[in-house]
């Protein structure tokens, strides 16, 4: 799990050679906590196929604005520097896993 910031986002996400899943959150957001655990599981189970990172929107206003993050948790899926899907709110592991499989 990579800690993403306004500074490393371009290199770690937009220029990544593999698909990237980014979890946008804040420390105080209660619905973000179960989502973070599920994303962590995805990171472990798909570590050789997908890059996974988390982004605190209170610490990275530029990227959060650029990708129009409004409500969190929001997940963005990137491939070749482009957003290919986005979700908001908590989703169960199997639902997220289905999406991941679709994008591999």
């Amino acid at each position: 799990m990579i800690i993403l910031t306004d500074e490393n986002f371009e290199q770690e996400v937009l220029k990544a050679s593999q698909p990237v899943l980014v979890d946008f959150y804040t420390d105080w957001c209660i619905p973000c906590k179960p989502m973070a655990l599920i994303v962590e599981q995805i990171a472990q189970n798909y570590k050789n196929q997908i890059k996974v990172g988390k982004f605190n929107i209170d610490e990275g206003p530029q990227i959060a604005a650029r990708f129009k993050i409004e409500v969190i948790p929001t997940l963005l899926f990137f491939r070749n520097g482009q957003v290919i899907d986005r979700t908001r709110g908590v989703m169960p592991y199997p639902v997220l896993e289905e999406k991941i499989k679709q994008y591999l």
């Binding site: 420390d27 105080w28 957001c29 209660i30 619905p31 604005a65 409004e70 409500v71």
Partner: protein
């Protein structure tokens, strides 16, 4: 000191919830975490903005995200709780 502020906000939210026909989440850990988030954001951005939404810097737009936000009553009615989980249906 901050604990006193948190307790006072909890009391005020309890009264607000009762007055409006719903209640504060009985999970105190959840409520305290959300309120600490609101206070942190108040220090950082100047108002108690919902910790589950982005502060955009546009005061008019962000005003809609000050807790309790305009959607909370609709969300409680439809899903049993507001998005953040601060208020729930009795």
């Amino acid at each position: 000191m901050e604990e006193d502020v948190v307790e006072k906000i909890i009391e005020n939210y309890k009264k607000y919830a009762e007055k409006n026909g719903f209640k504060l989440n009985p999970n105190k850990q959840v409520v305290e975490s959300l309120i600490k988030g609101l206070l942190t954001r108040e220090k950082k951005y100047g108002a108690r903005y919902c910790p589950c939404r982005r502060v955009t810097g546009n005061k008019e737009k962000d005003k809609l995200n000050i807790c309790p936000c305009p959607e909370h009553k609709k969300e409680i009615k439809e899903t049993g709780k507001c998005y953040c989980g601060l208020f729930i249906r009795p």
